[in-house]
């Protein structure tokens, strides 16, 4: 048996047909709220097609880092560039899947799925032209194909979010975001409210979708097992020497995708989990 090969560099290169490109670049980014400094001059970059998991203890700024990339928060100082552009306001090229309120409760599953493409493609005035009707039909067909892709039945299309389980809701939310073909998908503890079985299924789903679509994904989680299972790269945030948080661990994950099924990797994965936990607890001095 040969040693497991890292597949990410191949995957990224094939996704773009060329060498990896920087997708998100943060240089000396600081963020403060009043007197409270959350980030003090942090720098990082994310390449196209990477699956970055952001970990850390509660309150260390994982979700805020995501909101910075999303454009929901503006850095107090420093530069943050996404897809070559400095972001001002919500970045409309991002897909976003939050932990809660991920679907519009007043819309059916189908209506949730088609909302984005219809908003982008059809203006209010042109909505009733024959060309628009044709486009609308195409969008609906695409929505149904996404439904099948995420493992839902066509009959689920007319259900409201409250009629779906938590896992199904998050599946639809992921499909809703990916239907817009976002350049980057931001997921904020998207699976944390799910039971372990559903969570496992969702991890497999997002992994497969990542392989199929080669979308850059930034995935915030507090679950080290999940991060070690999914990520091609890990950021661990912790407070270092001050109240401000910083990225204390930035590590590429060199395992094959099947890292949990592959018994040979178990010790390496466990070692990685142990290292993540040490760093996120703030024990990075010892680890270093």
């Amino acid at each position: 048996m040969s040693a497991p090969q890292p597949i990410f560099s191949d995957h990224i290169a094939s996704a773009n047909g060329q060498t990896p490109l920087t997708h998100v670049s943060a240089t000396d980014v600081s963020l403060s709220f009043g007197n409270r400094i959350l980030f003090d001059r942090i720098s990082f970059s994310i390449d196209k097609g990477e699956f970055v998991c952001v970990l850390g203890e509660t309150g260390c700024g994982k979700s805020t880092l995501l909101r910075l990339i999303l454009g929901e928060e503006q850095p107090t100082t420093g530069g943050l560039v996404v897809s070559g552009k400095k972001i001002r306001g919500v970045n409309r090229n991002c897909g976003y899947v939050p932990q809660k309120y991920s679907l519009f409760p007043d819309r059916t599953v189908l209506s949730n799925l088609v909302f984005g493409p219809e908003s982008a493609a059809l203006s209010v005035l042109s909505r009733f032209s024959s060309k628009s009707r044709e486009r609308r039909r195409e969008i609906r067909q695409e929505a149904f194909s996404w439904l099948a892709r995420i493992g839902l039945q066509a009959a689920d299309a007319n259900k409201y979010p409250h009629q779906l389980s938590g896992g199904m809701q998050q599946r639809v939310a992921i499909a809703q975001a990916l239907m817009m073909k976002p350049s980057i998908l931001l997921m904020d503890e998207a699976f944390s409210a799910l039971d372990p079985n559903t969570r496992g299924g969702m991890q497999a789903l997002i992994h497969n979708l990542w392989l199929q679509t080669a979308t850059t994904i930034v995935f915030v989680t507090h679950n080290t097992h999940e991060a070690a299972c999914l990520a091609s790269r890990l950021f661990v945030l912790a407070k270092k020497n001050s109240e401000a948080s910083t990225i204390v661990l930035d590590e590429s994950v060199p395992f094959s995708r099947d890292r949990f099924a592959d018994r040979r990797l178990r010790s390496e994965v466990l070692e990685l989990i142990h290292r993540i936990e040490s760093y996120s607890r703030g024990a990075f001095s010892d680890a270093e």
């Binding site: 999303l70 929901e72 306001g89 919500v90 970045n91 409309r92 991002c94 897909g95 976003y96 939050p98 809660k100 309120y101 991920s102 519009f104 409760p105 007043d106 909302f115 984005g116 493409p117 908003s119 982008a120 409201y160 979010p161 409250h162 809703q176 975001a177 817009m180 976002p182």
Partner: protein
């Protein structure tokens, strides 16, 4: 088995619940007629607490006879439906209902203003303080100003209703719009919606059932302002009639009128609840 009425964990049966819910009605009706019989025994001409027969005659007069001021002699030749259409209560209900509906329609801009105040920071900065100030003004205290400014016709009464209720609806809608989770708004933007689409296709649609509930809860204040306006300056309407009959101690008609107004409000409330359920099947709080 002993029943403890102060047990939070108690589970009354449906029959018990239904019976208990009618007890106070039965008690009220019983006490009324006991008092009526007593007063009529002492004074057969008493007009303060009419008997059942007097009430029935009052209802008959209200529903089948024209108002005294109409002096419609041809009514005797009409059938029941035609008589109802020419009756005192029909005329008064139509007049009050028209004012009420116009005021309800004028609450639509109030809802839209509240939505914009809640969502658009510049609109919020312009209007919030002003609406908060306006909300504290007692609407009835501006009634003389309204009569001077708009005369004693329809406009002043409708303005009174709008001024009385609109600030509450604006502030309620504003709070509801602000209460929509930020995630939903961000999600809308990332799905290609602009500010207008986020406001109208996401936020307004989500808060609409609660806005309807807020309007539903303000039906009574709306009716209160309508009655105040009609009682002071009007020549028709339900409140005008009650005020007019008060001078003649016409309790045999006033009591049916009061119950009729309560029934109308109950029906409007029920219709709005029903509409809310039909229009917003996803909404569970109605």
């Amino acid at each position: 088995m002993m029943v403890n009425p102060f047990d939070i964990e108690a589970k009354p049966s449906k029959l018990t619940w239904a019976m208990l819910s009618w007890v106070l009605f039965a008690l009220g009706i019983g006490l009324y007629f006991q008092e009526s019989i007593k007063r009529h025994r002492e004074n057969p001409e008493d007009r303060v607490v009419p008997t059942l027969a007097q009430l029935a005659q009052g209802i008959h007069n209200a529903f089948l006879n024209p108002a005294e001021e109409d002096d419609d002699t041809s009514i005797e030749q009409m059938n029941s439906w035609q008589r109802i259409r020419r009756s005192m209560i029909w005329k008064d209900t139509a007049a009050s209902g028209q004012r009420f509906l116009i005021s309800l329609l004028l609450l639509v801009p109030a809802v839209l203003l509240g939505l914009h105040i809640g969502l658009f920071p510049y609109v919020g900065a312009l209007f919030t303080r002003f609406v908060l100030f306006f909300d504290k003004i007692i609407a009835l205290s501006v009634l003389p100003i309204l009569f001077i400014a708009f005369g004693i016709d329809e406009l002043s009464k409708i303005m009174l209703m709008v001024i009385g209720v609109a600030p509450t609806i604006i502030l309620d809608t504003c709070d509801l719009a602000k209460g929509v989770p930020r995630e939903q708004i961000v999600k809308g933007f990332t799905l290609g919606a602009g500010s207008g689409a986020v406001a109208y296709r996401i936020v307004l649609k989500q808060i609409m059932p609660r806005v309807l509930n807020a309007i539903r809860l303000n039906l009574k204040p709306l009716m209160l302002f309508l009655f105040a306006g009609e009682m002071i300056a009007s020549t028709d309407g339900l409140a005008y009639r009650i005020a007019l009959l008060r001078r003649h101690m016409g309790m045999d008609v006033i009591i049916p009128y009061v119950l009729w107004v309560a029934l109308l409000l109950f029906l409007i409330d029920w219709a709005l609840r029903l509409l809310n359920q039909v229009w917003h099947p996803w909404f569970k709080e109605t």
